[in-house]
């Protein structure tokens, strides 16, 4: 019997695959250069399937290139922060003294309201692509570290690890071969959650005009559409504001589905039958 979480996962992976495909193939399939100017506010036509914006840029092309930016920032930042989080978490769980130091740093980071802080930093530093990735990585690793550490702490005294220690296997090999694999499911779920968070946060920053102004992103498309004076009075919003908004929504939805199905599979407490 297929359970809800199974087919939600399938839909989720499907959505992600679709958007990744759009992002990868943007230069090939988009009808125009997203920064080239045509006549402003053109209605949809064969040459401009979604028409053009107020300065004459092709909206479909903007959308496709926006997928590149949003997904790449999200994927890189979530990837880096998960790898860093797992690395530090494994160390913190295995070496007690180092673990103490790492966990005090984690405590400080966890107490910081990270989203307001990122907006604050962005307002002053006017981040580009790599600065954004750096921000989200810097504030994204702590939760992973905490989860991975507790995972390691509980695995450390399992028979197979103690046996490996007893036969004199060195630390590096114990960490990599015996402890690390057990943390991968936690890491995968954290990656998805972090990905989702970064997509929402990045589009939020761009919407507020705090992102990279030179790059097409879904958030900045929404910003310009929203600032257009008569956007909601006519039906222009359907082809201008709605597409980027729906793209963000669908990517986040896809990640939610994937995360939910993974978490149900990984967490035995959610997996078991009740009662």
């Amino acid at each position: 019997m297929h359970r809800v979480d199974h087919w939600l996962g399938v839909v989720g992976w499907g959505l992600l695959a679709l958007f990744s495909l759009a992002a990868v193939s943007a230069p090939g399939v988009s009808p125009h250069d997203p920064t080239a100017m045509h006549a402003p506010m053109l209605p949809p036509s064969l040459s401009h399937p979604l028409g053009t914006n107020d300065i004459g840029q092709d909206i479909l092309s903007e959308l496709l290139y926006g997928a590149r930016f949003s997904l790449l920032v999200g994927c890189l930042a979530a990837g880096f922060s998960t790898v860093a989080g797992v690395f530090l978490g494994v160390l913190a769980g295995y070496y007690d003294r180092l673990g103490f130091v790492i966990m005090r740093v984690v405590d400080i980071f966890l107490a910081v309201p990270r989203f307001p802080l990122i907006v604050f930093l962005a307002a002053f530093l006017k981040p580009g692509f790599w600065t954004l990735v750096l921000f989200f990585t810097l504030f994204g690793w702590t939760k992973t570290t905490r989860l991975v550490r507790s995972q390691i702490l509980s695995q450390r005294h399992d028979g197979y690890v103690e046996a490996a220690v007893a036969v004199g296997v060195n630390d590096r090999r114990i960490l990599l071969r015996h402890l690390l694999p057990g943390t991968l499911s936690v890491a995968l779920v954290r990656f998805i959650v972090e990905f989702q968070h970064v997509i929402l946060a990045e589009s939020g920053l761009s919407f507020l005009g705090l992102g990279d102004p030179t790059v097409k992103s879904w958030g900045s498309m929404l910003r310009y559409a929203f600032e257009y004076p008569t956007i909601f009075i006519s039906d222009v919003w359907i082809r201008w504001a709605a597409p980027p908004g729906l793209c963000i929504t669908l990517v986040v939805l896809g990640l939610t589905f994937v995360g939910f199905s993974l978490e149900t599979r990984v967490n035995p407490r959610l997996n078991g039958k009740r009662g």
Binding site: L110, F115, P116, F120, F207, F226, V252
Partner: protein, 329 residues
């Protein structure tokens, strides 16, 4: 030192880190804050500083003094409640912020009460009826709602409820007419303006609370003490309310606390979309006008607010759980 004391020290360190960051960030920018302010051709609003405003700014940043002295002035100024001088409003930052805080509290606070309560109720029901049609329906609804970025959801609500159907105002917190009349008319007017931004917030943050409650409840429902309670033949509703829910609520408190920062920022996005005159709109305006002292002050107040909420949640958590409480006593 007990757990509460450790927590407080930890939060004090975090606060100091944030204060320091707030101090150094504007000074780290190329040139000094003043030249950055005056010489930026990209500013959305051209700024004409009078001699008086200039003097105020110079005094606030104190750039002619050594950095240590500046830092001390900054900290002692904060201790007196002096947040600096807003360029755009030509008024003390503290009083500008005070005028906006009440609106953010009204919008964000009431919405938070609603989505937290509703999320817990729906999550508990969903977990209890796991796999049923109600559960699946709720899950799907909540997932599809929770993926909308708040600023986009707000726009969609404006398009339909304000422009197409004319049911609610497109923005603002109140109308001048009702504010003048006061009394019941004003309350009604405030509520009328609250509906769309409030609804946006509830729809955005309900899913998170719902999912945590559902997961937490599912975990608890599999525990031995719930099985014991069931096997004693207690009413199912009592098992849920007395035995399962109190235990399930503990992780909810922590998770809600850890998301305060996110929720506060969400409120700010919604404010911008609905031109609601709270802190979010203030930060947006300050950013557009390059009013850095105001931006700094607004962020400081926001972050301290979130930190205090987090600390309270941390301390309450210890109180709520009798196991932690007794272990300490």
């Amino acid at each position: 030192m007990n757990v509460g004391g450790t927590k407080i020290v930890q939060y004090l360190i975090t606060t100091l880190v944030l204060l320091t960051l707030n101090f150094f960030l504007p000074r780290m920018m190329p040139g000094d804050p003043l030249s950055y302010l005056l010489g930026d051709p990209g500013a959305d609003a051209p700024m004409l500083l009078t001699e008086e405003m200039r003097a105020n700014l110079l005094e606030y940043y104190g750039l002619d003094k050594p950095v240590v002295a500046q830092y001390w002035d900054y900290l002692s100024g904060l201790a007196r409640g002096d947040l600096g001088w807003s360029i755009y409003y030509n008024a003390p930052v503290g009083s500008v912020i005070l005028g906006r805080l009440k609106w953010t509290f009204l919008l964000g606070g009431t919405a938070a009460l609603i989505y937290i309560a509703l999320g817990i109720v729906l999550g508990a029901v969903s977990a209890w009826r796991r796999g049923s049609r109600a559960d699946v329906g709720l899950l799907l609804t909540v997932f599809s709602l929770g993926s909308w970025p708040p600023f986009f959801l707000g726009m969609i609500l404006i398009v339909f409820f304000s422009y197409h159907w004319g049911l609610f105002p497109i923005g603002g917190a109140q109308s001048a007419e009702a504010a003048r009349i006061g009394g019941f008319a004003q309350v009604k007017d405030l509520a009328h303006h609250w509906v769309l931004p409030g609804l946006t917030l509830v729809l955005t943050y309900l899913p998170g609370i719902y999912l945590i409650t559902r997961n937490s409840m599912l975990g608890v429902l599999g525990e031995d003490y719930v099985r014991t309670a069931r096997s004693k033949g207690i009413l199912e509703s009592l098992v849920l309310l007395r035995h399962a829910l109190p235990n399930a609520l503990l992780p909810i408190v922590t998770t809600v606390a850890m998301r305060f920062g996110f929720m506060v920022m969400g409120t700010m996005f919604v404010e911008v979309v609905f031109a609601y005159p709270g802190m979010g709109t203030l930060i947006y305006e300050a950013g557009a006008a390059r009013d850095y002292p105001l931006l700094q002050g607004a962020f400081l107040v926001t972050m301290i607010f979130v930190l205090v909420l987090n600390l309270v949640a941390d301390l309450v958590y210890g109180r709520l759980d009798p196991r932690v409480r007794r272990a300490r006593a």
